[in-house]
């Protein structure tokens, strides 16, 4: 008896969401098959890779990243350098300086940074806040105003601050809203519903369903991705069909597998190699479970994940 190939084709698809403008704009999502299952149907838009930079620079900078940005004087220089990497599809700028518990930089300064970064690159831009709900809301409103017409994505609107962010980013300035929930299908869906009720078109929403590093309760991330993906495709749930973006590097470069120095853990070997390994492992696992984009830092991780995506699509 010949082998009968099973096929899982769905009558529903993940939303195709455009980021950026001009020649280098990209589309996230659009697929109607399980992640990388090109044998079920062609996948038009491969998963995308963003590079993450911070307006404060990162602590514990590893040599490979430090060397890569050597000579850059401003955040805009760094963004330009990062955007020149062939495997990078978009650039993410974290406005860490805004954090009221840290430098507490005024909104106007951050707007200037965002504008300078946006002018330095021709690839799509993702704006990441400082993880303070109130400040992010103020920040995104002003940045979105300054970046009108750039079609940038803002990470993130959460249950606590979605109202003003969705209204400013999604409605007033017509850009993309990132909806962040914490590793739970129902919470993810509820936030999408709330943001849609404000009037933001589903096609202007991207989800961040929550994230973790491999080994750190990562099974919840994988299962939430699996469940969201299957609700979107097999149950045609329109409130879960937004493409998913997963910030990977901010998690993986903070855990001890990546931060412990070689002096502290001599048998573990190079901290940089460990960090790359954590970043690559985590990124590939979320892509294989349905994330349409990942955010990374190390040039080697970016190159490796990009190569794997090319091989699979």
């Amino acid at each position: 008896m010949p082998f009968k190939k099973p096929v899982q084709k769905f009558n529903a698809a993940i939303n195709a969401v455009e980021l950026g403008v001009g020649e280098k704009k990209i589309v996230l999502g659009g697929q109607n098959v399980m992640p990388f299952y090109t044998f079920d149907n062609a996948i038009e838009n491969p998963p995308r890779i963003g590079v993450e930079i911070s307006d404060l620079g990162f602590e514990d900078q590893v040599p490979g990243i430090r060397d890569f940005y050597a000579g850059c004087k401003t955040v805009a220089d760094m963004a330009k350098k990062a955007a020149e990497l062939e495997d990078v599809d978009f650039v993410c700028i974290r406005l860490d300086s805004a954090d009221p518990n840290g430098e507490n930089a005024p909104v106007a300064d951050c707007v200037e940074t965002a504008r300078a970064v946006s002018e330095a690159i021709d690839k799509p831009l993702v704006i990441i806040g400082c993880d303070n709900d109130e400040k992010d809301a103020q920040l995104f409103e002003k940045v979105a105003d300054a970046l009108q017409g750039k079609n940038a994505l803002y990470l993130s609107a959460k249950e606590e601050n979605y109202k003003s962010i969705a209204a400013a980013v999604g409605l007033a300035y017509g850009q993309k809203v990132g909806a962040e929930s914490s590793v739970d299908l129902n919470l993810a869906k509820q936030l999408n519903v709330l943001i849609s009720q404000i009037g933001v078109d589903a096609k202007n929403i991207v989800m961040n369903i929550g994230t973790a590093a491999s080994g750190y309760g990562f099974e919840y991330v994988i299962s939430t991705l699996d469940r969201v993906n299957s609700a979107a495709l097999s149950q045609n749930d329109a409130m879960l069909q937004m493409p998913i973006i997963t910030p990977v590097s901010s998690e993986t470069w903070a855990v001890k597998e990546s931060t412990a120095t070689e002096e502290d853990m001599p048998q573990w070997g190079s901290a940089e190699t460990r960090g790359i390994s954590m970043e690559v492992t985590t990124a590939v696992a979320v892509l294989a479970s349905g994330s349409s984009a990942v955010i990374l830092r190390h040039p080697t991780s970016i190159k490796t994940v990009a190569k794997l995506i090319k091989e699979l699509i």
Binding site: F3, K5, G217, F218, I222, K256, V280, T282, A288, T304
Partner: protein, 448 residues
């Protein structure tokens, strides 16, 4: 192929005698098809029919046993495509490679580096369970390396499609019960003979899925059902397709020809590129690889991949727990303050990670809270002033630690008053609500 209720009904006597406890033979047949009743409950079925039914009602993927040193591992036996449906039962095993092209120095380097990786993470031993010994034409060297691998006390996979050489190597290390990987469309009869005579698992491969399918059918016809399916390495794309299709065929189509565990040689797909091998190993750990072969097992690869595997193969209903006790962080000694939290593994990881990031020496106290998170444990009465006081006594904390500052999770700030009464010698401090705030909190606390 699995039988449907109607097919099973045709095999019953159709007398409706009710001896099986069902009103009709049809009802019985339906239950058998669902797997809710054993076929043997009907006393009127012939041996032949029983055998046929036993085969068709067996689980979709066989569970096979593999030896690694003194430990036995299960391969296969999976029943679902996604872990939220049901636990993935047989964790992925990792192998590193010795090839007959490697000289002594190379062999030693790979063995030293890979065997060194052996540690414990949340109660589980993390190491490369297997050594993949690869034949490319030098038979003597291959046999020699097979012996070396067997002596290392790990499981062995012999990768060899030449029956004469394979049989020499098998004879040399028969006691180690290696997996013999190398059967294909042209040699399967001889390879199967070697494997069956020595009681070994046989690895089968094909140029494509159709050829593999055909060869497995032929091997089954020979009576060999101890198989592992090598997904091949013509390209990453075809290997991924094969791993997915094999699993889907078994689970979705109940096609037992592909109801076997898989083997993925990622070393062969990305030779010399450690980062790419890590990427591929991650992909195949998430998507259906039973055995994954790397060039070597480094700490960098292991920390990431074994952590991933431990998460993926966790029972979704049962949270992972860490052992209660004292966990000194940032070189804390008896003079460092204490932070207390619950034994839910995720809580432990997040909290210990943030505390480590603060750089402040601190003794993390993990109390027994039934594996629940802070709020759930509190709601369930498993984290209370009494449970914390009891923990302090049971684990003799007052004699082991001199510092008398005890930092409580902010979410259970309500416990402060009662706890302060129960622990008179201590200064109970309320910590932040969220772990992320610990870095700042600890630095400020240390400066006071």
């Amino acid at each position: 192929m699995a039988l449907k209720g109607l097919d099973i009904f045709k095999l019953t006597p159709k007398t409706n005698c009710k001896e099986c406890g069902n009103p009709t033979c049809m009802a019985f047949a339906m239950k058998v098809a669902q797997g809710s009743i054993e076929v043997t409950k009907c006393p009127h079925l012939s041996e032949e029919v029983l055998a046929k039914l036993a085969e068709s009602t067996a689980p979709p993927m066989k569970t096979l046993t593999l030896k690694s040193g003194d430990t036995e591992y299960k391969l296969g036996g999976e029943t679902v495509l996604f872990r939220h449906e049901k636990t993935f039962v047989s964790k992925t095993l990792y192998a590193f490679t010795l090839s007959d092209t490697m000289d002594d120095a190379e062999v030693k380097a790979v063995m030293d580096e890979s065997l060194k990786v052996d540690y414990e993470r949340i109660g589980e031993r993390m190491y490369a369970e297997l050594i993949f010994v690869k034949y490319t034409g030098n038979a003597d060297r291959f046999v020699e390396l097979a012996r070396k691998a067997a002596e290392a006390g790990r499981g062995v996979i012999l990768s060899c499609s030449d029956p004469a050489t394979a049989s020499k190597a098998v004879a040399e290390i028969a006691d180690a019960k290696p997996v013999l990987d190398g059967a294909n469309a042209s040699n399967y009869e001889e390879m199967s003979k070697i494997a069956t005579e020595n009681g070994l698992l046989l690895g089968v491969t094909g140029e494509n899925l159709d050829e593999l399918y055909d060869t497995v059918e032929k091997l089954e016809a020979l009576g060999n059902k101890n198989l592992v399916l090598n997904v091949g390495c013509n390209s990453i794309k075809t290997a991924f397709e094969a791993a997915v299709q094999i699993r889907r065929a078994a689970i979705l189509n109940k096609d037992r020809v592909f109801g076997y565990p898989s083997l993925v040689d990622v070393a062969a797909m990305a030779p010399g590129d450690e980062a790419m091998q890590t990427a591929l190993a991650s992909l195949f750990t998430v998507k259906y690889g039973s055995i994954i072969v790397l060039e070597k097992m480094t700490y960098a690869e292991s920390l990431a991949l074994h952590g991933l595997r431990q998460n993926i193969f966790t029972d979704p209903q049962k949270p992972m727990k860490v052992e209660p006790g004292i966990y000194p962080l940032n070189k804390a000694d008896e003079n460092a303050p204490c932070c207390i939290t619950v034994d839910f593994a995720l809580t432990y990881f997040v909290v210990s990670g943030e505390l480590e990031r603060s750089g402040v020496p601190v003794n993390l106290l993990i109390s027994d809270a039934g594996g629940y998170s802070v709020l759930t444990a509190w709601a369930a009465g498993k984290l209370s002033a009494s449970s914390i006081a009891k923990f302090i006594t049971d684990y003799d904390i007052e004699n082991k630690i001199k510092n008398r500052n005890l930092i409580l999770p902010g979410k259970v700030a309500v416990l402060k008053g009662e706890l302060q009464e129960k622990l008179p010698g201590w200064n109970v401090v309320v910590g932040p609500n969220e772990a992320v705030a610990l870095v700042k909190f600890m630095r400020e606390f240390a400066n006071k």
